[in-house]
Structures are given as structure tokens and as C-alpha cells.
Symmetry: C2
Subunit: 412 residues, 2 copies
């Protein structure tokens, strides 16, 4: 069973919009065990679209289109699929009254363009779209299956991840692909790979993906049923954890900030921050986690030297003697905010993110992270390469990794 | 002159990587005045890639490939272009010694796979790649032009925006496309459109793009020369500014935080923040601008109620009487941080971003932004719809818009 994706829209072909939906759909196909070697992207143009669909139907068993289902004259997908499959377009008698009611209830006009959205190929069916007026369209004929989904993100993603994924997964029969991503921090890619090299090229496959300041291993199993696949992935995960468990902070969509907040919550501990180089980015990351206020108290953004003294009580002598970008100042920042807010732990960051090459004699990319807690204060120096944005992002990442390590060492 | 883009890579077809390069290249083609109706994305597979290239060469004058130029066995683009165009692959005698030296200088092996990167179709040429070992490849034959670029972002973007853009722009002869984006804030899309409706459908074309809490107008002129195009865009920009000038905060890549910092810098003013709902996101945005420390002093993240009293001096009575999410608390936060840090201006944000529906009786999405300055304190209430992330992003956006308005009103 082979599939092909056709993305439709002038906004894509003008380069104003990046085609993230195609990637989402590709991933879903892979996870359903359906081969997809080919994608096309085309303009809202009748001839171009029709040729693309004909080619895709000739080449692949399943053709999935994204976009062009709306009410305007530009939206041609419904018509082009019917034409390419040699089908008449008809109004879906069951759906049409609901569509009419939707518009009339809101006092909108309901005429030809709106009614278009209730049409489908005669032998086809509509796919429910709870998040918009244009339903998806499905049509199967002569051993070929076409599925058309709307382009707006809020409509496409639920339809693709819901009905379409389930439908294709059942249809693909035989093999489904189950994936899981293990997220590691505090260990380098080559070091981690060395430890699980013998596991990586077997079945399930384990592939490394280096991320900013962390490492992901994606486990992918091909199996007859979802249950078998999950079992194979569980076993592979267990083997990886036996060797690298201390570095695995979470799976799939878990973020490092979530994992660290979870550890703090388990230990009934609270956290405060004192940020210089990151200007609020550390607090932003931590407070982005829903429910963060159970753990995160707040902190101080001491962007200029003066504020380090005023709000954190860093001593003037320390600042003068060691400069604001120093081990000593990071420690006093962490201890200052911890004592002021009475938090169990605190994290302080100071460094030079550029653009000028020198803050108190320290080159761009030097960052000090201090963590103060019940067992005292630890401070680590990092040398980070990259842009201003990279340095700031890596700084918060390193701070979270260090804090996690301290929490684990203490057995929270 | 028509062009087609072929993106190559298993990471794209597995959905692990979103194809941003295709969008970048589409935009460049549009700006060069070259029609592009069709893109393809294919796996690192010899048969699939070759078929895609043959089809593209049959259909379009220019075929641009992205990816597959590296040294590994997966990298097939160079070979496939030669095959599709009926050309022999030869080693580029001028480039090969440089490539060999690069590897030998670093003590790396230099054998067959590495040498592959010095090969090109016999009638073709290499495109200089200062950021990697794999140069681009160009080949012209029988009225068809193929251009192959490497996939890594740091290599693709400079080559596409540099040599390839210039080459295609010259080649496209006659018409170049010049674009500029005007960035507006503080005015809604429909209100802004009403005021420039008569300008939007002429030449140059002016198209609106609604963004989070702001509005972009993209001016696009088609002209014989770049100079003529720039002149036409200048004139259109002038006309838009005559009507909407107060809302235009910048052009192209200027961000709102940059524009606001620039205004503060002009007025020799400084800024401090007091953040509750945004947890540091406001400081993060402001300090992301290089050179922010001339203006931005820092602030307090008062994520929990207690910290509002301890570090900002918000009165316990105000918190009890009005709740932390209130006009009164926002004002006291702004005034508290301003007096503590001695800044010219300060911004305070408090609100409820969810996930629980109720903070002190206020529903999710209610945000208060207060700005304190030499003329007193202003506070505005916003009701923001969307996810936790949306609410926080919109909150910082609204705060920047409000601060900008206050600075402009004062004639800073």
C-alpha cells in the first residue's frame, strides 16, 4: 500500500507559509506502516491541480490532499478529485441542512459558494469536521482511495490525527508502526550511542536525534498489531533505560521543564530564579508548564549590575572584584533570591550572550549557572557557541540539566 | 520561465523534518519573478528521485533541488541530475585539491565518498559553499537548467539567498519582484484595510497578513529592474504611511520589541518589568534584542502572591480586596518596580492564563497591563482567547503595543 500527499495553496507556493501539515501527514503515514515516497505541492490552479491528482492516482494507492476545500473560487480540490476520478459532484443530502442551519443561525448568507462545501463525489463520503464549515471528503474507486482534508491548522490536525489516522491504520492491515521518543539530557550523543550500539540496528530500530542541549532516541517498531508494536517498544525502552536510565528525563512530548517541575513537586520543594543573561527566559520556560505555580515562586531579572545589588543583595565588592560574569556573582545571586523568597531551591544565571565581545573581561558564550538548595550552592561554568539566541537557550537548558542532576542526587 | 523545486530526504518523507527550505526557495523564485506552480518532495531513493527529476525537467525550465549532496551512500542528487540530463559525472579538477586539503589538514580520511563531493556533470559547474564541504552543482543543457543545493540550513540559506538568487534574478530578465513588509500594531485588520482599500489591488499589490496581535502589509512590485521595483515599493509605502503611519512600527524583520527599545533609547529612557502571568516572557522578549542593556534594567517575576508583596511592595490590603488579577494590583506592581529600580518606565502584567478556570474570581484570558512612567500610571484590561501559550504571548504583545502608544503620545 503506497500513499502520496498533495498540498494545495498559493500561500505555500509563494513561500509565505511553511508546509508543516505535509510533515504531520508523512509522520502519520509512517506510523500506520504505509509507504510514502512522494509528495507534491501545487498552486490553486485547476490545470496544475488536476494534473497532479491524476499523476498521484496513477502512481499511488492512496492520495491525500491538504487544502482547497473552502467556499471561495480558489478552492478547487473537491471538484478536481471528482474530475480526476471520473465522478459527478453531488450535494450530500444528509449534511446540507446542517450547513444551511449553521449559516442561517448566524445571520450569514447561504448561497452557491457556501453550499459548495456540502458537495462530494457521487460514490464518496464526507468526513466530519467539528472545527470548521468544510468537511473532509473521501472517495474510493477502481482500487484507488482519495482523502481530502481542509488546510486550516485547527481543522486539519484533529482530522488527520483522528479519523484519518484510524481509518488508514485499519486499512493498512498487517503492519502498523509504533514509535516512542526517549528524551535524555546530561549525556553527549556519542557517549550515549556507544552504550547502546548493539541495540540500535536491530528490531525495533533506535535512532538518535541530537537536540539543543539534549538527545532523543526514537524507538520504532513495525508489527502486526498495535499491541505487538507497543510491547516491542516497551521492551526496547526497558533495555535502553537499564543502561542510560539516569539520563532519561521523559518520553514523547514531555519537556525538560515539565520533568524538573515534576521532580520538585514530588519533593514538595519550591523554586525561585535570578536571571541576568537570560533576561526572564528561565522563568518563562518554567512558568510555561501548566500548574507551575505549585512550585515556582518567581524571581528577579537582574539585567544590569545595579539590580543585582538592589534586589538580590549581591555585594558591591564581589561585583567589583570578580565582575558580574563570574562564579562568585552567580552564587550570590542564587543565594540572594533563595533567602529573599524562602524557596527550597534557586537557580541563577549570569553570562555574556553578546553582541559585544566582552562583559567584565569574559568572552561571548561564557555562562555561569548556580543552584542553591538545602545542601548548599553549586556553580558550573559553560562555554556556549552560537548566536545570542543559542547562548540564551543553551543557558536555560544547562540550568535545567544541572538542577535535575542535583535533585536526583539528593534523591528527591 | 518556469521553475520547480525538488526537496530530497528521508527525514522529510518520514515527517521528522518540516521542509522550510522549500518555502524559502519559493519566496526567492517569486521575488525573482519566476513562476513556480509545482514542488515535489521525494525519498533518498534512486528510482524515485530520477523519475521526479525527469518529470520536473520535462515540465519546467529550471529545476532546483535541495538536499542529497553529501558524502554518504544516501546522497544521490549529483548522480541523478547527471543521469537525468544525460551527462557524465567528472571530478572538478580545480576544486578537488581544495577539498582534499580540507580533509587532510584536519587529519580526516579522504577517499571515494569524500571525493564524490568534487564531482559535477561534465558540462556543469560547482557553486561555492563557504559553510560546508559539499558545493552546489549547476548544469545547463538543451534549454533546461538544474541547480542543486545542499540541505543543511547553514549551507542552503546563504547559497539560496546569495548566488542562486542573484543568478536567477539576472536570468529571469525583464521582471524582478521587490517586496517589503510594513509591520503595524494597535489597529485591527479590517479597520486598517478599510483605510487603504483603494491602494490594495493596484500595482504594486498590497496584501494583508494578520499576525499575533499585529498586522503586516506586504507590498510587492513587479518591475523591469530592481531600482524601478524599489522606487514603486517606496511610493506605495509612503502612501500607506500617510494614512496609517502611527501604527507602522517597522519594516521587514524589525520586531515590536526592537521598535519599542529604539523609542526608549531615543528618549534616553530606561525600562523595568514586573511579571506575574507571563513569568519572565516580557523580560525575555525585551532582552532578546541585542544591546537591550542600554535600556532594560531588569525586574521581578512575582509568580505567586507573596512575591508581589515581598519584592514589589504591593499592599496586602490591595491583594486581599481586589485579588491578584486586578487593575489595582497591576498598577501597584508597575509603580513598585519603577520606584525600586528607578526606571523611567515600567510595565506590569497580571492575569489568568489557565489551566484552572479561576484565579481570584477572574476567568482564563483576563490580563491587566499597567505602564508607569513620568506622566503617571495607565492600566488596560484585555480579554484574550486561546491556549495558555496564546494568552501569555498576546499579553506581552499587548504590553508592548500599550507602551509604544504611551511613548509616542508623549513624543519621546
Amino acid at each position: 500500500m503506497t500513499a502520496e500527499i498533495v498540498s494545495i495553496g498559493n500561500e505555500l507556493m509563494d513561500g509565505f507559509t511553511v508546509d508543516t501539515h505535509a510533515a504531520t501527514m508523512s509522520r502519520i503515514l509512517a506510523e500506520c506502516g504505509i509507504d510514502c515516497d512522494h509528495r507534491q505541492t501545487v498552486r490553486d490552479d485547476w490545470e496544475v491541480l488536476l494534473a497532479a491528482l491524476r499523476e498521484a492516482l496513477a502512481r499511488s494507492d492512496v492520495v491525500i490532499t491538504i487544502g482547497g476545500l473552502g467556499p471561495t473560487g480558489d478552492d478547487l480540490t473537491r471538484e478536481a478529485i471528482a474530475e480526476a476520478m471520473g465522478e459527478k459532484l453531488v450535494v450530500d443530502e444528509e449534511f446540507e441542512p446542517k450547513l444551511r442551519k449553521f449559516f442561517e443561525d448566524r445571520g450569514f448568507t447561504y448561497t452557491e459558494p457556501q453550499q459548495k462545501q456540502a458537495k462530494r463525489p457521487e460514490c464518496g463520503a464526507l468526513i466530519d469536521n467539528p472545527y470548521g464549515t468544510a468537511p473532509g471528503v473521501m472517495c474510493e474507486k477502481n482500487g484507488k482511495l482519495a482523502i481530502a482534508m481542509p488546510g486550516p491548522r485547527g481543522e486539519f490536525v484533529p482530522m488527520a490525527e483522528g479519523f484519518v489516522r484510524d481509518f488508514l491504520s485499519q486499512r493498512a492491515s498487517g503492519s502498523v508502526i509504533v514509535s516512542r521518543t526517549l528524551r535524555l539530557c546530561g549525556i553527549g550523543e556519542s557517549q550515549a550511542e556507544t552504550q547502546i550500539k548493539d541495540l540500535m540496528y536491530g528490531e525495533p530500530r533506535i535512532a538518535p536525534y541530537a537536540q539543543v542541549g539534549e538527545l532523543h532516541f526514537r524507538i520504532t517498531a513495525k508489527a502486526k498489531t498495535r499491541e505487538e508494536g507497543v510491547k516491542a517498544v516497551d521492551e526496547a525502552e526497558h533495555k535502553v533505560r537499564e543502561r542510560l536510565g539516569e539520563y532519561v528525563y521523559g518520553i514523547d512530548k514531555t519537556t525538560l521543564e515539565q520533568a524538573v517541575l515534576e521532580l520538585l513537586k514530588e519533593g514538595k520543594a519550591t523554586l525561585a530564579v535570578a536571571e541576568s543573561i537570560t533576561g526572564g527566559a528561565m522563568g518563562e520556560r518554567i512558568s510555561s508548564v501548566p500548574g507551575a505555580s505549585e512550585v515556582f515562586l518567581g524571581g528577579v531579572i537582574s539585567y544590569v549590575q545595579d539590580v543585582k545589588e538592589k534586589l538580590l543583595g549581591v555585594s558591591h565588592e564581589t561585583l567589583e572584584k570578580f565582575t558580574p560574569v563570574s562564579d562568585q556573582v552567580a552564587r550570590e545571586m542564587a543565594e540572594g533570591i533563595r533567602s529573599r523568597l524562602g524557596s527550597t531551591y534557586s537557580v541563577a544565571l549570569t553570562g555574556n550572550a553578546g553582541p559585544t565581545s566582552d562583559v567584565g573581561g569574559r568572552p561571548i558564550g561564557v555562562v555561569y549557572v548556580a543552584v542553591a538548595g538545602p545542601d548548599g550552592t553549586q556553580c558550573t561554568e559553560y562555554k556556549i557557541h552560537g548566536t545570542r539566541e543559542d547562548v540564551r537557550r543553551r543557558a536555560t537548558q544547562n540550568a535545567l540539566v544541572l538542577l535535575r542532576q542535583i535533585l536526583l542526587d539528593r534523591g528527591v
